[in-house]
């Protein structure tokens, strides 16, 4: 899932300092699960902002709403009737949701309530570890299910580098070498020959936002093209 963490309070407070009426919009999907930007986190942030602004003798009126998702226009449409009542919006969704919300209401200043940190697994309650960098060229099939792009400090598709040292990465003894782990797992599975496989360089050139259209969802005119 997409994981995020709440922005530092002082940064948030500073961003919305000039505004008197602010709508705080939570997101009910990924950031709710990772305890960063759901209904409860919206309420906590609002309580904090309310107190801080009162102490500064600059009171603020805060609205709170949590949408099912902010990366879908049909849910963002729920804000259409209420957005006009506010001077600015804080979105506690991931970077995707924040941008989509800002796109729907281009006349409103929109501020991020969280820092999006990546695609991560849930290791324990409130404890998340990144596993995917969404590189768009998955090699997990030949790396024993361990992502070298995420787990290797250099993101090497064809590793390891010279910095591997007794199973650890040169950057830190706490950081395992991804390619050492891949070697271990592949040899345990008897598939070590895969490690000799060569992955062509990823085309990082001219990066533009990637578009994904699932099979069967193309419009007829796009099919012909």
């Amino acid at each position: 899932m997409i994981v995020a963490k709440r922005k530092p309070f002082d940064e948030l407070k500073e961003m919305i300092k000039p505004y008197k009426k602010v709508l705080n919009v939570g997101c009910g999907t990924c950031v709710s699960v990772c305890l960063a930007g759901g209904e409860k986190e919206v309420a906590v942030l609002n309580a904090e902002l309310d107190m801080a602004r009162k102490l500064d003798d600059n009171p603020i009126e805060l609205g709170a709403v949590t949408l099912e998702r902010q990366c879908d226009q049909e849910y963002l449409a729920e804000l259409d009737d209420m957005i006009g009542d506010y001077d600015a919006v804080v979105s506690m969704a991931c970077g995707v949701g924040i941008q989509f919300l800002a796109e729907r209401f281009p006349e409103k200043p929109v501020f991020p309530g969280v820092d999006t940190t990546g695609l991560a697994v849930n290791q324990d309650v409130g404890f998340y570890e990144e596993r995917c960098r969404s590189c768009g060229a998955c090699v997990l099939g030949m790396t024993g299910g361990i992502c070298p792009v995420t787990m290797c400090a250099k993101g090497l598709y064809n590793g390891p580098c010279g910095g591997t040292n007794k199973g650890k990465c040169e950057i830190s003894q706490d950081q395992p070498c991804a390619w050492f782990q891949i070697h271990e797992r592949l040899s345990k599975q008897g598939r070590l020959d895969l490690i000799m496989g060569y992955k062509e360089p990823v085309e990082w050139l001219d990066q533009v936002p990637r578009m994904t259209i699932q099979p069967g969802y193309k419009k007829p005119e796009e099919e012909k093209a």
């Binding site: 309070f9 002082d10 409860k40 309420a43 906590v44 309580a47 904090e48 309310d50 107190m51 801080a52 009162k54 102490l55 003798d57 009171p59």
Partner: protein
């Protein structure tokens, strides 16, 4: 036992200290309470295993949130005792009251609309 404890303490019953949420404590201070504290079971003896540990963590979290805002984090506290310790309950109520009195009124209070 007819024990006395400060009249300023208002008790809210919950089935377990683990029921107390960050928002309960935060809203109490937001609405002008000078302090808020949780009295839970002794550590290690929670009927639900970890309710009082969760409460403790939440108190610490709220304390850090209050500090961020500019209010003394020590206005929220956690105490532990067993259900048979009435005198300790009264002693904790007095200790918390004295502690809050020393801190003075909640700075929000003068700014909260009545």
């Amino acid at each position: 036992m007819r024990l006395e404890y400060p009249a300023s303490v208002k008790i809210i019953h919950v089935p377990c200290s683990g029921k107390v949420d960050v928002l309960h404590l935060l809203r109490a201070i937001q609405k002008g309470a000078d302090g808020a504290y949780i009295v839970g079971c002794l550590e290690g003896s929670c009927h639900f295993n970890e309710g009082n540990y969760r409460a403790k963590e939440r108190v610490q979290y709220v304390s850090s949130l209050l500090e961020e805002v500019g209010i003394e984090g020590d206005r929220v506290r956690m105490y532990n005792l067993t259900s048979g310790e009435g005198p300790t309950f009264a002693a904790y109520a007095k200790e918390m009251t004295d502690h809050i009195r020393a801190l003075g009124p909640n700075p929000i209070k003068s700014k909260v609309k009545s």
